[in-house]
């Protein structure tokens, strides 16, 4: 943008800082309380403690929920990456029926989760599928599929057609071309999509609440606990999850951004 007069730059910077403060203050609260004791809204800065982390290690209920979340996340990632990639490969370069089916794939992502969740809830009941972790995994997969599909499809579209033609010219079969040329080119998009899918699954709350059985994932467990108020060790867990999430973001950026910049430069 062109140079702005000084007062407006200061005004814009002030609003931006305000937005940053607003966005980060809700994250700041649990992190501070994981190291310091808070009573009646006052932080006791004098005595930092790690006791919340020790207490967390003994909270089997929460650790079980965390394990459930990880299991659901991994299953969701596997299912969504496999089916998302297949769908992207199938619809890439195909015109007939693509826009309609693509729209269907995107629906659960566009619709409010309460609608997707309730639709699945009734669907599972109609086909007689008991609510369990399986239904949660299906719900999550349906939800994140659009992201994986889109990530892979965009990579396919930016991939040069000549690579595949060269492979066929050199006498490779369809299989060989797929395994040696197409798949390696897609791998970083698939990893990026997998990380996004995992991050979304890890925090998915609204669909999960509707389709889960007796075993609950971490967000649902936290949601149930929240009515009664959290014990301090939850703050420790939150601080750890935040660190983990930031790590995931950095990884996702690493897998997704460099390639896109490279293609832009070409």
């Amino acid at each position: 943008m062109s140079a702005l007069p000084r007062p407006s730059t200061i005004f814009l910077a002030a609003i931006t800082s305000l937005v940053a403060v607003l966005l980060y203050s809700p994250l700041f609260v649990p992190i501070v309380s994981s190291f310091f004791i808070i009573s009646h809204g006052n932080v006791d800065w004098s005595s930092p403690t790690l006791s919340t982390y020790v207490a967390l290690a003994g909270n089997h209920d929460i650790l079980a929920a965390l394990r459930t979340t990880l299991i659901v996340g991994v299953c969701t990632v596997i299912l969504s990456v496999v089916s998302g990639t297949l769908l992207a490969l199938y619809y890439h370069g195909r015109r007939s029926g693509r826009s309609v089916l693509q729209f269907i794939i995107f629906l659960p992502f566009l619709m409010p989760p309460i609608i997707s969740g309730l639709a699945l809830l009734i669907f599972f009941r109609e086909i007689g599928l008991e609510r369990s972790l399986l239904t949660v995994v299906i719900g999550h997969t349906v939800f994140v599929l659009a992201i994986v599909y889109r990530t892979v499809l965009m990579r396919l579209q930016s991939m040069s057609r000549t690579l595949v033609e060269a492979s066929y010219d050199l006498g490779a079969t369809g299989w060989q071309t797929f395994w040696r040329v197409i798949l390696p080119n897609l791998s970083s998009a698939m990893v990026g999509g997998a990380i996004l899918a995992f991050a979304l699954s890890f925090d998915e709350t609204m669909i999960t609440i509707l389709v889960t059985g007796t075993q609950s994932t971490l967000p649902v467990r936290l949601w149930a606990m929240m009515r009664l108020g959290f014990s301090p060790d939850i703050n420790a867990l939150v601080a750890l999850i935040l660190m983990f999430t930031v790590l995931l973001c950095v990884l996702a950026a690493r897998f997704l951004i460099p390639r896109q910049m490279a293609t832009e430069r070409n």
């Binding site: 769908l87 349906v142 079969t173």
Partner: protein
């Protein structure tokens, strides 16, 4: 030779399987559930069991009962307000980002988007503790002398829902606005400058109109996410903060009337589709490809 033939046959079978899957997966797990859901909205409930005979009763109830339409309307107003607040905060921030150079621009953008990926439930809880009677907001307002004593104005009512949803959804407004601002060709701004326009004139007559598609997408994103949320109102809304999402959710819990809940969902879906279409219509950028 037969080896080659059987690989080809295997490939053909595989591609047939992929074709079937490519159509079956989205249809079975997305379209069929939504269709059943729609059909359910025409059923009714009698003494705790679902009656599978078609009726318009649920829709009649929605339009005639004095409870539902006002709540529906209030929720729409609430979510429009959330969208307005988000855009008022996100637009200057996104504009500021585009004034930065190279690396800084994207680092700061990332910084403003990262909170999106952090636990939704925890954020709601933290915001509630900030807004509460003993929370940081009240403490700050009392310390600044704006309030004499801590107020319950910000928790367990509609204000609380408005503030919490706005805080949660700002990043969704920043991204589309940033992208539309970034797409504005620099040459246009320079031309405007050369022709003697002040920076305010340039902003009002070039930047703002060209960034409106981004604002429209941002508004529709935020609105759709806000109206579908039933966790936030449940958590910070208390008794007075009753939103459509909460009523809808209660039909599948305490009220136990799935068909009526399905009818309410249809109403919600219509508003959401309208919002997405409006966002699409005005979100399509015109003239930025100059």
């Amino acid at each position: 030779m037969s080896g080659v033939g059987s690989t080809q046959a295997a490939e053909r079978r595989l591609s047939q399987l992929v074709t079937v899957l490519a159509f079956a997966l989205p249809v079975i797990f997305v379209l069929v559930p939504l269709a059943i859901f729609l059909v359910y909205s025409f059923f009714s409930v009698d003494q705790g069991t679902i009656v599978h005979s078609p009726t318009l009763g649920n829709y009649v109830r929605f339009f005639t009962d004095p409870i539902f339409l006002p709540v529906f309307w209030n929720t729409i107003v609430l979510c429009v307000s959330v969208a307005v607040i988000c855009i008022l905060l996100a637009y200057p921030a996104a504009y500021f980002l585009t004034t930065l150079k190279g690396r800084w621009r994207y680092a700061l953008l990332m910084l403003l988007l990262v909170p999106l990926l952090m636990s939704y439930v925890i954020k709601i809880y933290a915001i509630r503790s900030i807004l509460g009677l003993n929370g940081f907001l009240n403490k700050a307002l009392v310390a600044l002398g704006i309030l004499d004593q801590p107020s319950t104005l910000f928790v367990f009512n509609m204000n609380a829902i408005l503030l919490t949803l706005s805080l949660l959804l700002i990043p969704f407004a920043i991204l589309p606005i940033f992208l539309s601002l970034e797409r504005i060709p620099q040459t246009l701004l320079r031309a405007s400058d050369d022709l003697g326009a002040s920076s305010l004139q340039t902003f009002l007559r070039i930047t703002l109109p060209l960034s409106l598609p981004g604002v429209a997408s941002a508004a529709s994103f935020v609105f759709v996410l806000a109206i579908g949320d039933f966790l936030t109102p449940q958590m910070v809304g208390g008794i007075s903060g009753f939103t459509f999402g909460r009523i809808l959710y209660s039909q599948f819990g305490t009220a136990y009337n799935w068909p009526f809940g399905a009818a309410l969902s249809v109403a919600l879906a219509i508003v959401v589709i309208a919002a997405i279409l409006i966002g699409e219509r005005f979100g399509r950028s015109r003239g930025t490809s100059v």
